[in-house]
């Protein structure tokens, strides 16, 4: 077979046939995977489980605490209706479809796997077109929310478990109404100490282990940004930053992030179907920012929930 003709811009010494490049790619990936999985495989052997994937399950069971670094990660896509009023931009409600990706990582704490857990949540969402009531003007939105909290959890009879605790929340987002002159963007930035709680109920439906979970987070005390009632960005650009950051408390910034999820343990993986309600209202400087999201969520939990094991050996908050 004649050698392939090289493009003029490609030096001859850099060209390798596709099959050779594919082989090298496969070998590189295999090597990287082996390096990445080696510590996990080692831990898996110590725990006497079959694979690195099982370590998440095993770690919720009777593993020694010093090796218990379990992470249950749930990765979700969300979509739903979002409505927002930012009086800095316009005094009417804009609404539309909002999409999000989110992740929630939970683990029992090594020092008290039976009663303490930690959770980290990340949520990034956006809307390309939120419309006013007449649907003749559109707004764009983007928002990111990160929360970390630590909770105590208690197992109750009848498959119930509850948890309660607190943590930190950071949120940053923006609404853009680009037809506006000197007030085209409404920035929503906040950081707060939050309270977090949950209720879960474990049950088997048609032999499928199922966990129904209601998660609730709400900020208690923190700080948030709100521009002046009629303050333009030009004035801020000139250097007038007075009165832009406010102490947030339930009297002027209320937010509820509520997620109702049904997790179906399918063995090596689990699936979560859910509903999220995210409502917040912040008021300062005679301005109000209010948003409401009702969204459906669908997520996957790689590694599953480990519920195939006997209930007596499970340490699993959710």
């Amino acid at each position: 077979m004649p050698p392939p003709r090289l493009p003029k811009w490609m030096p001859a010494q850099t060209y390798r046939p596709m099959t050779e490049r594919f082989k090298q790619y496969i070998s590189t990936v295999a090597l990287a995977s082996a390096l990445a999985l080696y510590p996990a495989m080692t831990s898996a052997e110590e725990l006497g489980v079959d694979s690195a994937a099982d370590i998440r399950t095993a770690s919720f069971t009777d593993a020694p605490s010093e090796t218990s670094r379990p992470v249950t990660g749930c990765y979700s896509l969300e979509f739903g209706r979002h409505s927002v009023v930012s009086q800095y931009l316009a005094p009417v409600t804009y609404a539309g479809t909002r999409y999000a990706v989110s992740g929630r990582w939970e683990k029992c704490m090594p020092f008290a796997p039976q009663s303490a857990m930690m959770a980290f949540e990340a949520h990034v969402d956006g809307a390309l077109s939120l419309l006013n009531p007449r649907q003749n003007s559109s707004m764009q939105a983007i928002d990111a929310d990160f929360a970390w909290n630590m909770r105590g959890w208690w197992r109750l009879p009848q498959g119930f478990a509850v948890s309660a605790g607190g943590g930190l929340e950071v949120e940053a987002g923006a609404l853009a109404l680009l037809k506006n002159s000197n007030n085209p963007v409404s920035v929503n930035v906040a950081a707060a100490v939050e309270a977090a709680a949950s209720v879960s109920w474990t049950h088997r439906f048609w032999r499928v282990p199922t966990v129904v979970t209601l998660n609730l987070r709400t900020p208690l005390l923190g700080a948030f940004y709100m521009p002046g009632y009629g303050e333009t960005y030009y004035e801020m650009y000139l250097g007038n930053h007075a009165g832009l950051v406010h102490c947030g408390w339930p009297g002027n910034r209320r937010k509820v992030n509520l997620h109702l999820g049904i997790r179906l343990d399918l063995g090596r993986t689990a699936m979560e179907l859910g509903y999220r309600l995210d409502w917040q209202r912040a008021s300062a400087n005679n301005l109000v920012y209010r948003s409401l999201t009702n969204a459906f969520t669908i997520g996957v939990i790689p590694g599953g929930l480990g519920m195939k094991r006997p209930a007596s050996r499970q340490i699993r908050p959710f």
């Binding site: 009023v85 009086q87 316009a90 005094p91 009417v92 409600t93 006013n132 009531p133 007449r134 649907q135 003749n136 003007s137 009848q158 109404l177 037809k179 506006n180 002159s181 000197n182 007030n183 209720v199 209601l214 002046g228 009632y229 009629g230 303050e231 333009t232 030009y234 004035e235 650009y237 000139l238 250097g239 007038n240 007075a242 009165g243 509820v256 509520l258 309600l277 409502w279 209202r281 400087n285 005679n286 109000v288 209010r290 409401l292 009702n294």
Partner: protein
């Protein structure tokens, strides 16, 4: 089991209902009909417009008199005309009502005054069509060794490098004319770019404040700002006489530029009083989607005077360019500036 769950489910349902329905009064409370839209517009101006007191406008009375013109049969175009006529009472060029079919303007701030400028006369009879242009500026060197820059719009961003080229080309001139006639304003940050080239130390730029609430007296404390000189590696034009040419059509950012340039000791304003526009515009919205733009943040000059009503030329330098003279190829304002600057000695 159900009995145990009932209180929890009830509480959760009540919470969700409360959240879904809470605070629905945050958005505008007017209906999307003729009266609702008119009342929304009236309230927005009443609570957010910043010059009601300076212009001695009884807005509620004004609003009531125009509201009486509305009936249930008033169509969308008629409603727009009624609203636009009401807004004309503010006598503010920054006020626009924007609909899908038209935009309202208050034009009398310049239509009731002589234009004092003709671009063709300038290009043909003074610049001989041999001017250079960059960054939205025309520039030229008159035979009297007087440099000339015409900047027609602050909406065109002046690049630092472009200004370097312009000022370098005119650096050997003995004086400079900056012509901003017919400049209707634009981006205020262009003022920083310009002014920084004509100063060697920080100077007061004026002050700005904003409304802090719906009351007519609800204003923040003035925030005083300054202009800083351009970095040393930039080309500057210092210690030489500068003339700024103005007419009634200088508005908004051009008006603010005139205010700060007038405060420099080597700058003379020649021409007519500027058109004003000393309130930074803000935009809001009516229930029917029309946008309303209006002045929201008053801007004060370095002398503490409100710039809304325009900037006067330097005392003794007010002059006009009558239309018949312009048509004949003579620009009185520009000619006077050249004559004035020609009296200064050439640089060594």
């Amino acid at each position: 089991m159900l009995r145990k769950l009932t209180p929890s489910v009830t509480a959760a349902s009540a919470l969700m209902f409360m959240l879904c329905t809470a605070c629905s009064d945050d958005d505008i409370s007017y209906a999307d009909d003729n009266y609702g839209n008119f009342d929304a517009l009236s309230e927005i101006i009443d609570t957010r417009y910043c010059f009601l007191q300076e212009k001695d406008i009884d807005w509620r009375q004004t609003s009531a008199s125009y509201r009486a013109l509305i009936t249930d049969e008033t169509n969308e175009y008629q409603l727009f005309q009624i609203c636009a006529s009401m807004l004309d009472c503010l006598e503010d060029g920054h006020v626009n009502l924007v609909s899908r079919f038209t935009t309202s303007y208050y034009r009398k701030w310049w239509t009731d005054y002589p234009q004092d400028f003709d671009l063709r006369t300038l290009q043909q009879d003074y610049l001989d069509f041999r001017y250079l242009s960059t960054s939205g500026m025309y520039y030229y060197l008159f035979p009297e060794n007087v440099g000339y820059i015409y900047y027609p719009s602050f909406s065109t961003t002046v690049s630092e490098l472009g200004l370097d080229y312009v000022l370098a080309a005119l650096s050997d001139s003995k004086a400079l004319i900056i012509d901003i006639r017919n400049n209707g304003g634009g981006v205020l940050t262009n003022i920083d770019t310009f002014v920084g080239r004509f100063i060697d130390h920080e100077i007061p730029g004026g002050s700005i404040c904003h409304k802090t609430g719906p009351g007519h007296d609800d204003f923040s404390e003035p925030y005083f700002f300054t202009y800083k000189p351009a970095p040393d590696y930039r080309v500057k034009y210092l210690d030489k006489p500068i003339v700024l040419l103005t007419n009634r059509s200088c508005y908004s950012a051009a008006n603010a530029f005139a205010a700060v340039m007038k405060s420099l000791p080597n700058v003379t304003l020649i021409g007519a009083r500027t058109g004003g526009g000393g309130g930074l515009p803000w935009t809001s919205e009516l229930p029917n989607g029309w946008s309303i733009r209006f002045s929201a943040s008053p801007l004060y000059g370095p002398d503490g005077e409100l710039t809304e009503f325009g900037i006067d030329p330097t005392e003794g330098f007010e002059c006009h360019s009558p239309a018949d003279e312009l048509a004949a190829g003579y620009d009185n304002i520009l000619s006077r500036a050249i004559e004035y600057l020609a009296t200064f000695p050439d640089p060594e």
